[in-house]
């Protein structure tokens, strides 16, 4: 069952540029466990969409199956949503994106949905550089079926039932880098300061923007010995940079220390402003990102922040060279070649 949130709000709540208050970006009441990391990510999505003054109908939200995939009902109720089948969100999003290139596509998935059953579709969406934001709410376990290890559970991580995971973890951010994803970031559900601007930047990126967000499962994977518990993540987190997203035509207000700061201009004129915490890392150098990721992992640390961005990204529409007008807006007159052309076709088969 789903329960609508009450619609009344304080009359003085601030409206954004397109006339919406923040609650306009919310969804129905979450049915996830109290304290679930996923709810924080939903909150960050709401915050990001409100702050960039997104018109809700300009975004379509899609998901697969699992706890994470339920979240699209908990944000952006004025956006069309699609809770599809397990692991198949990328293909639905691909078709939707082909139909209308003008919308923002936000895909939400989990570690089971992406790293196991949906691995094939995930890697091929990267390969095509589909223009979408792909968020994995990564908790290392299957919550809805009572806590089995997932493929992102770290080697040796202890489950709630007390067993050590004997399998190597699939590092989705590392995989995305390996596959040349054009935007790769990692964050933590508990770090909204980092996550909100990262979501905004991902939405501005014209291509596949992958966000691996560690999101602890309070019920099945928050125990001692788990490497995806709140306390473990907090103790082992490190970051590539202090990061902010500056929408087009807005002033940069934050001062970063000289020498370590960098500014990246995105396709739509918006900017990523960052202050590097890792000196040997460069956000536009994929190899430095891979090296940095491995170095952190070797020390048992979880590297977060923007890992890599390709500022010269050509998305699937660009690769296919489709018309600028969305395909779903083309009329019969524009699409049907007519009887005269068919007569010529017939003649060629006589």
């Amino acid at each position: 069952m789903s329960y609508d949130k009450p619609k009344f709000h304080h009359p003085l709540l601030k409206k954004n540029k397109v006339g919406y208050i923040k609650t306009d970006y919310e969804g129905v009441i979450s049915t996830l466990c109290a304290g679930c990391g996923h709810d924080s990510i939903s909150g960050a999505i709401v915050q990001a969409c409100y702050e960039i003054s997104l018109e809700p109908h300009r975004l379509a939200k899609l998901s697969g199956i699992g706890c994470s995939s339920k979240t699209p009902t908990y944000f952006l109720s004025n956006s069309h949503g699609f809770n599809s089948v397990h692991g198949r969100m990328p293909s639905i999003t691909t078709g939707a994106n082909m139909a209308n290139r003008d919308l923002i596509y936000l895909g939400v998935s989990g570690d089971g949905d992406t790293a196991s059953i949906g691995m094939g579709q995930f890697v091929h969406a990267i390969r095509r550089n589909l223009n979408m934001v792909y968020i994995v709410m990564n908790n290392g376990c299957y919550g809805l079926t009572k806590g089995q290890d997932s493929a992102t559970a770290d080697f040796g991580s202890v489950s709630k039932a007390g067993s050590d995971n004997p399998y190597q973890a699939i590092d989705l951010a590392g995989l995305a880098l390996e596959l040349n994803a054009t935007f790769v970031g990692r964050s933590f559900s508990g770090d909204k300061t980092q996550l909100v601007p990262m979501i905004k930047a991902a939405m501005a990126h014209p291509g596949f923007a992958f966000l691996d967000v560690i999101s602890p499962c309070v019920t099945f994977n928050n125990n001692a010995g788990s490497t995806k518990s709140y306390s473990h993540v907090r103790e082992h987190i490190e970051s590539t940079s202090i990061f902010d997203f500056v929408p087009k035509e807005e002033e940069i207000t934050i001062d970063y220390p000289e020498g370590e700061s960098a500014e990246l201009e995105l396709f739509d004129g918006s900017k990523i402003q960052l202050s590097k915490l890792a000196p040997d890392w460069n956000p536009t150098d994929r190899f430095s990102a891979v090296n940095r990721l491995h170095a952190s992992k070797a020390r048992g640390q979880i590297l977060t922040g923007l890992l890599y961005i390709n500022t010269d990204s050509k998305d699937l529409h660009g690769k296919l060279n489709t018309v600028d007008k969305p395909l779903n807006k083309l009329t019969q007159e524009e699409l049907c070649p007519g009887s005269e052309a068919l007569e010529k076709v017939n003649a060629s088969f006589r």
């Binding site: 109908h57 069309h80 599809s84 999003t93 078709g95 082909m98 094939g120 018309v323 779903n328």
Partner: protein, 604 residues
């Protein structure tokens, strides 16, 4: 062996090695006969292989216009040593075997009751061409020249077809003409010609075209306004994708920008292919896929989503021999049950059964209208025979006044004018089909959450028994609406007069029509009906009710179509007999007549 002269009624078979360029030579041969105004049916019987395995090309010529396969080979051109024995044995007594006499034929291959015609094909090729690849390719044209002369086919017509074939590589034309002449001259100088079986120009093809069903499907999709094709390569459906791309490049490029008014996406597998189709249609762009039985098996989960979440899908299933990998390059009609009831839970899907390329075109267009109207999966059930072989077909037809039926979609203005809240799954007018909205339509109205989970009229998740029942019962009611929208069957008599009714569908029509004529000559009269769609139209029920005994002719082992009729129309199984053909080759009229006669004797 003096035989009477038979004109315009023969079966010629070419036995070749796959990958040696024989297919295009053989196709030019068949096209030349068509150009002489004679009805002709070529069948390419090929292996799942790129090079080396046996392949056959069978051409039936029938002045009466029978376009099914016919038993009994009159002339066989055998250039594949691997299959020599089997090929020679397949020729009817009194028939002709044309072979490469560059080497002497071993005694074990000699049959006393057939005629041997030796042409030194490879020897002639080696004498005239230096490159081995050229020798191999032009050897095919040499035998075409020989056979053309033996059968009295007009040489000028063949030359014209060759010239058209190499329109884009005109340098190749002289060499092909020379090879053709080598074959012609060898026959003229060394053999008696023409044979007693021969061809003569008539005017029996009218405005027909020679085209394969897959190309016609692709053109149908273009004319229907499809803007997304997502697909995964699988024989025998791949040529639908190839033709879609080829014709889109000619017909769907924006003149000003050179950009494409379509997206053509080769998916990573069939699951992703249909996922993309669902995403595209959900977002308001006509989208489709083409696959074969194995692909449909993989698509099952998504087909259920399309049914339950009510998202249009157009799926072209070009059936091949099953089960499992089965016979990927042989034909069957064996995906009837698995298509009709694809996916888990209570599901049913609309199927259309084209019989000709013209119908492949027309029905593909219809599939898009039905998918948008009914908001569900519509499958076009073709088969390898129809999809991949050239068929003589009525021309493809498009009426410029016909408008796409995009179904019940609300615009921003519609939403603003509504007085009641929008309910995605709310039946507001009794046809059990709800209105839908396309993402991005309106800033505050019309958004909803699409899901494969149980939902109420407003697309909200619910497992309440009464909510679930309202929804699935409405879907059942929508099925009744579908019955009124699908094409009616075709009948082969003005009114039912006989107690026995013949039922068939798809490519079985060619052999079935011929079988009826053969039976009529023997005094056995039958009524007949060709079913064009599932769910079964009311007229299908009426025909069945009007006949005591029915014979269902189909091309699978388990009589799947008969099962579907019995199940859906609650028929007494005893009323329905079967004629089945499932060896992977297209059914023949002889097969049908033989089995009908057996059945009738058994039941009398």
């Amino acid at each position: 062996m003096k035989q009477e002269v038979v004109v315009n009624d023969l079966v010629i078979r070419f036995s070749n090695v796959n990958g040696t360029g024989s297919a295009s030579a053989n196709e030019m041969f068949a096209k030349s006969i068509f150009r002489m105004g004679i009805p002709v049916t070529p069948k390419n019987i090929f292996p799942s292989n790129i090079q080396g395995l046996p392949t056959w090309y069978e051409v039936r010529v029938s002045e009466k216009g029978y376009l099914g396969r016919r038993d009994g080979i009159d002339l066989l051109v055998g250039v594949n040593p691997q299959t020599l024995k089997r090929d020679i044995n397949s020729i009817r007594p009194g028939g002709y075997f044309v072979y490469d006499s560059s080497k002497k034929l071993h005694e074990e291959y000699i049959r006393a009751d057939i005629n041997y015609i030796g042409i030194p094909m490879i020897q002639l090729a080696m004498e005239h061409y230096a490159k081995p690849r050229l020798q191999q390719l032009l050897k095919n044209i040499i035998y075409v020249g020989a056979v053309v002369t033996l059968l009295d086919i007009e040489l000028e017509v063949v030359k014209q077809v060759i010239a058209e074939q190499f329109e884009k590589k005109p340098k190749l034309i002289p060499a092909n003409y020379q090879a053709l002449e080598l074959g012609v001259n060898y026959v003229k100088e060394n053999l008696e010609y023409p044979l007693n079986i021969r061809l003569k120009r008539i005017d029996a093809v009218g405005d027909s075209i020679m085209i394969d069903g897959n190309t016609a499907c692709a053109l149908g999709a273009i004319y229907a306004g499809a803007t997304l094709m997502a697909w995964y390569p699988i024989t025998p459906s791949t040529s639908v994708a190839k033709a879609f791309e080829t014709y889109c490049k000619k017909m769907r490029i924006d003149a000003e920008t050179g950009k494409k008014k379509y997206a053509f996406v080769q998916a990573e597998d069939e699951l992703a292919a249909i996922g993309m189709v669902i995403g595209g249609n959900w977002n308001g762009a006509r989208s489709f896929t083409a696959t074969s039985g194995a692909g449909v098996s993989l698509m099952n989960e998504f087909i259920g989503l399309s049914y339950f979440a009510e998202i249009p899908v157009v799926l072209i299933n070009v059936e091949r021999g099953g089960p499992s990998t089965g016979m990927p390059t042989r034909t069957q009609q064996a995906d009837i049950i698995s298509s009709a009831y694809a996916s888990h839970g209570d599901t049913k899907h609309v199927l259309l059964f084209p019989s000709t390329p013209a119908e492949c075109f027309e029905h593909t267009v219809k599939c898009f209208d039905l998918a948008d109207r009914l908001q569900t999966t519509i499958m076009l059930i073709s088969d390898l025979d129809l999809g991949m072989n050239n068929h003589m077909s009525p021309p493809l037809k498009w009426d410029d006044s016909q408008k796409y039926d995009l179904g019940k979609v609300l615009s921003a203005e519609d939403l603003e004018e509504m007085t009641e809240p929008f309910g995605r799954y709310l039946d507001v007018d009794g046809d059990a089909i709800p209105y839908r909205t396309i993402p991005g339509t309106h800033p505050t109205l019309g958004s909803f959450f699409t899901r494969g989970t149980s939902h109420d009229e407003y697309a909200k998740y619910s497992e309440l028994p009464e909510v679930y029942l309202r929804n699935v019962d409405r879907l059942a009611q929508k099925w009744d609406t579908a019955k009124t929208l699908v094409p009616a069957p075709e009948f082969y008599q003005e009114e039912s007069k006989n107690s026995i009714g013949l039922i068939f569908f798809g490519t079985t029509v060619y052999a079935a029509v011929e079988a009826m004529m053969m039976l009529k000559e023997e005094g056995i009269q039958l009524d007949a009906m060709r079913v064009k769609a599932f769910p079964f139209h009311q007229e299908v029920e009426d025909f069945i009710a009007a006949h005591e005994q029915l014979i269902v002719v189909e091309q699978n082992r388990d009589a799947q179509f008969r099962t579907l009729l019995i199940n859906e129309l609650e028929l007494n199984p005893a009323r329905l007999l079967s004629v089945l053909n499932y060896d992977g080759t297209p059914i023949t009229a002889h097969h049908i007549t033989k089995h009908i006669k057996n059945q009738l004797t058994a039941t009398v």
